[in-house]
């Protein structure tokens, strides 16, 4: 067993998960230190989304151990909610609440889950909307925004809970090419501010620019993990080389 140092924010130990009889995650071992940016890459169906969804218990795993900031993720509603407060998540399809305005999207959870006073929640939300560069859209509904704007709101919404870790599940995959950049800029800014991040993404430029480590997955297992320079310049495993040759032109 791997002995983990205290600075690890996320510790994943021999995690296994099945969908029915299908073995989607196999013996996953991964540690994330505070302030680290981990990029998870891999072909579709490799289990990368499932892995980060396990971290805030959107997916249940059958064996292994997962701790977030020292809290053991077990089948206990209180602990799950505790972890979810600490872990922000951004989805591929934004998943904004269409019946609430942008500002309400951002303040609902801080007010009702974090018990933040309304005025303070509004201030926090506005400053974060400014940070993602859309304060002027605060009173619009998500349906009135472009995809890129919606995803930036989703990032602000997650940040409003003041999480210690941010998970990104293919945040730019559903966006037009012109909008990918504005979302990536926000993510880079966030990475440079010291946030701990786990990103499932195909944006290799992002991985090179701010990533501390790239994890390559295939068929439910980690195939290769390395620093971005080594990963892109000297891939070792054949599968990694094949993958890179197909996505980098």
């Amino acid at each position: 067993m791997v002995k983990n140092s205290a600075s690890n924010l996320i510790e994943i130990d021999n995690l296994n998960k099945w969908f029915g009889k299908f073995h989607v995650l196999r013996d996953i071992n991964l540690n994330v230190k505070k302030g680290e940016i981990i990029v998870i890459a891999g072909p579709s169906g490799s289990g990368k989304s499932t892995l980060i969804r396990c971290i805030n218990r959107l997916e249940v795993f059958q064996s292994g151990r997962l701790t977030v900031d020292g809290v053991d993720l077990v089948d206990d509603v209180k602990k799950i909610e505790l972890i979810r407060k600490e872990v922000g998540m951004v989805f591929q399809h934004f998943n904004l609440f269409p019946h609430l305005t942008v500002l309400e999207n951002c303040t609902l959870a801080p007010i009702w889950v974090r018990k933040m006073p309304v005025a303070e929640a509004n201030d926090v939300a506005m400053s974060l909307l400014e940070r993602v560069k859309i304060p002027e859209q605060a009173n619009k509904y998500p349906g009135q925004l472009s995809g890129g704007q919606q995803q930036r709101v989703a990032i602000a919404r997650a940040l409003c809970m003041q999480p210690t870790i941010m998970l990104f599940d293919e945040p730019t995959s559903a966006l037009d090419p012109e909008m990918i950049k504005e979302v990536l800029e926000v993510m880079v800014d966030l990475a440079q501010s010291g946030m701990t991040m786990m990103c499932v993404t195909h944006e290799m430029g992002f991985a090179r620019q701010v990533g501390n480590s790239v994890v390559f997955m295939d068929q439910g297992q980690i195939i290769e993990q390395n620093s971005p320079e080594e990963f892109f310049n000297n891939p070792v495993h054949e599968r990694t080389k094949l993958f890179l040759s197909q996505i980098l032109h």
């Binding site: 407060k85 998540m89 399809h93 609440f97 998500p142 349906g143 997650a158």
Partner: protein, 382 residues
């Protein structure tokens, strides 16, 4: 053959122009909707002809040859039109039933408070500021579901706070119709929502109980429910325990309606994408908060037409209480037929026409309000 030249660069952008005059405005609307083709013109003219004929016929029956003033059957004997005088003479009976005349002010006050409440609710949701809406929603829910029913019970039924008791067997007419409709509509809503959630629960037992409950009430005709409520229930209870008949009917109607609402709400829940649940959960919301703030507002908004449809059906189904001996609005109308003082050829047709108008007014208001709400709550940005 000359070489094709693919080169094109726009040197100035095209300015915005207005559409051709014949396609916009009233003229354009009439032209495109009624006279756009030969078949269209023929159809429009046919509809116009029959429409005018129908309106004239109704106008003649209901207004020009109708009798408005009169005190007995003699005034209505010679007319081929409606005998409205008879409706006017029986009007109070149709509204209050046999509720004691000197106590009818209690019904009036209950009705007036209810009306004010519903109008205030509608106005605040339509024109109120965000602040008002947010702070009054929970207050109004308490008022509609708890305060008003208690208030109405104290005033209508009496027997406490110094009010003389009026047994429900004296209630009748529109009063009974509205009491049953109100309870059927507002009490079935929360039960229906709980049942809908129960039917989608991951816990097998909860799901099973919900399914059995819903399928039982949906599979039984309302007439059977009413019969069972008014006759059979007594067999299962101790001899000396006696429930009020109206109360038994109310419980039957409420559970019956709840099963339908449950299925409508379940349809709405199914339309909410999984991402909405995941986003709520990822923000740390528990099941209750997720339902109250995220899922239900969206699901209920989607099924407004279905819910209102159920309510309209229920409103009209309240007439079935006649068969267990309660005199609702329609029952009261039928009971006036036995009065020899007003026995004229036009009696029943006038009475049923009046009933149709009253039921239609209530149902159409509900329908319009639901359409208005749908528009109001639409945030898709279209």
């Amino acid at each position: 053959m000359a070489d094709t030249d693919y080169h094109f660069v726009r040197d100035s952008l095209i300015a915005e122009k207005s559409p051709p005059a014949s396609t916009v405005g009233f003229v354009g609307w009439v032209r495109s909707n009624f006279f756009s083709s030969a078949i269209d013109i023929v159809l429009s003219l046919i509809f116009l002809y029959f429409g005018i004929r129908l309106v004239l016929l109704l106008f003649e029956w209901g207004v020009t040859s109708a009798v408005f003033i009169g005190s007995s059957r003699e005034d209505c004997l010679d007319t081929s039109g409606a005998c409205w005088a008879y409706i006017f003479a029986k009007f109070k009976l149709l509204i209050y039933g046999f509720y004691p005349v000197e106590l009818r002010w209690r019904v009036d006050i209950t009705g007036a408070v209810g009306l004010v409440m519903i109008i205030a609710l509608a106005l605040i949701y339509s024109y109120g500021t965000k602040f008002l809406k947010q702070h009054f929603t929970s207050l109004f829910i308490i008022f509609v579901f708890v305060v008003y029913p208690i208030f109405a019970f104290i005033l209508l039924h009496g027997g406490s706070f110094g009010f003389v008791k009026v047994e429900t067997e004296y209630w009748g007419g529109l009063l009974v119709t509205l009491v049953i409709a109100y309870i059927g509509i507002f009490a079935s809503m929360p039960i229906g929502v709980v049942l809908a959630l129960g039917r989608r629960s991951e816990k097998v037992l909860v799901r099973l109980v919900s399914i059995i409950f819903i399928e039982f009430w949906r599979g039984v005709p309302l007439i059977t429910v009413l019969f069972m409520a008014s006759n059979m229930l007594q067999y299962f209870l101790p001899k000396d325990v006696e429930f009020d008949k109206l109360l038994r009917v109310l419980i039957g109607v409420m559970l019956f309606s709840a099963a339908y609402i449950a299925e409508v709400v379940r349809g709405g829940l199914q339309a909410i994408p999984k991402g909405q649940y995941e986003a709520s959960q990822s923000l740390g919301m528990n099941f209750f908060k997720m339902m109250v703030f995220i899922i239900m507002p969206q699901a209920l908004k989607l099924v407004i037409p279905g819910i209102v449809n159920s309510f309209i059906a229920l409103f009209k189904d309240t007439t079935l209480v006649l068969i267990v001996g309660l005199y609702d609005f329609l029952g009261m109308i039928q009971s006036t037929f036995s009065d020899p003082k007003w026995s004229v050829p036009q009696q029943s047709i006038t009475a049923y026409a009046f009933a149709a108008i009253v039921y239609w007014m209530f149902c159409y208001s509900m329908s319009r309000y639901s359409m208005y709400l749908e528009e109001k709550l639409d945030t898709t940005g279209r």
